[in-house]
């Protein structure tokens, strides 16, 4: 009886710690999801799905190891599944309305172009770029999170940066997306 109680108490403490660790990751999960999806509601939906999945498969997390890469990895898998299910990604122009220009510290016009350019990247490249640049993960960490070799991380990163640069200089190849100019 005593040991059972002790075990319950330990489990309770662990669960409280898990809860705190997960809450602490929330702001960064939201930032990444926002940049990945380009839309506020869709991003929070993705975060919510990630949290629910995380609890379901808590056993796959090694207690004591950092929780952040594990959560990002779950989010990556969910997002990839959703991409496979969905028809070729389309972003409603309306969703750009969510962008709060007043919050931007730099020239808002430049930033809107950046947002557009980001969404024009293939999702695989966008993921790598965001994990390296926004999340500041090490390349090896990105590789583990996305389940790809480090060499693939490097080639996607290189293509993402180059493509972003070209798109922002107006030299991007014409795709249906690039004609969606944001007018604000």
């Amino acid at each position: 009886m005593f040991t059972r109680q002790a075990r319950q108490q330990r489990q309770q403490r662990e669960r409280q710690a898990d809860e705190q660790a997960m809450l602490a990751c929330l702001p960064r999960l939201r930032r990444y999801a926002r940049a990945l999806t380009g839309a506020r509601e869709a991003a929070d939906d993705l975060v919510q799905d990630t949290l629910e999945r995380a609890w379901q498969k808590l056993d796959s997390w090694q207690r004591g190891s950092p929780m952040r890469p594990w959560l990002f990895s779950i989010m990556h898998n969910l997002h990839a599944d959703a991409r496979r299910r969905a028809s070729p990604a389309t972003v409603a122009l309306d969703e750009y309305g969510e962008i709060d220009q007043a919050q931007a510290a730099l020239d808002p016009g430049v930033l809107l172009d950046l947002e557009t350019a980001l969404q024009l990247l293939p999702p695989e490249q966008r993921e790598v770029l965001l994990l390296v640049v926004l999340e500041e993960m090490r390349y090896e960490e990105v590789a583990v999170t996305l389940g790809i070799p480090t060499g693939t991380v490097m080639s996607r990163l290189s293509r993402a940066r180059e493509r972003l640069r070209r798109v922002m200089q107006g030299q991007g190849e014409s795709s249906p997306g690039s004609s969606l100019k944001v007018v604000k």
Partner: protein
Amino acid sequence: MKTPAIPEEDLHAFADGQLPAARASEIAAWLEQDPTQAEAAEQVRDWRWQKRALHAHFDPVLEEALPPRLVAAVLAGASRQEQPRAPAANAARWWRMAAMLLLSMASGVGGWYLHDIGDDGRHARAQAPLVLARQAAVAHAVFSADLRRPVEVGADQEQALVTWLSRRLGASLRAPKLAPLGYDLIGGRLLPGQSGPVAQFMYQDAAGQRLTLYVSHEQVQNRETGFRFAQEGKVNVFYWIDGQFGYALSGGIARTELSRIASSVYEQLSPLTSSPPR
């Protein structure tokens, strides 16, 4: 000075600060001094600009208040760990689960305990005050730790704050005066509750210790309860129901001190009650 071509991978690692220090300073010197590296230097500048722009654009998300549905997803998942059940179908059920979690951690709930999980109606009725305490504790933890924006409206506009919150809750609210007890009102915010908006007033003492008073106007039982005490991690909560109002005072201070302040809040908000609750 003639320098070797820099492998592209190293250039990325340099721009991302992922190179060993010695190699990084070598590359920095080449980029700076060798005109034949001008193109590489230009690339690095571009990439760093991209980085600054991405941070400037997306970092504000880090400062946003957490959507309650996401906080709920964390808590509901936690309680499911303890009580494996079918996946929750709706938010109300999640909150009930979160309440169960709190129950398991609460001490001194004073004779009240969860006795009938099967009967949803009775269960929900018995749970309501505890859900309130749990929500209050979470709201306290989330916002009292927010150094930049703990409140939506500051106490310098106290009248406007109270008027605004009253209008949104559809009830006349008051912010109790706790200055005699050492706590000044610093402001408040509106939060989503179970079925409608709830208000949170925040107080702070000279040392920066914060207390929050969580006020809901969605209690359907229309009854009174005595003071109840709950504990969620380091947060102590005194809560009570008064008609349609539910109140919860949360803080990371000793139970006895919080109890003293809670009594004062109770007396100020229930002027018609001659004696403090049980």
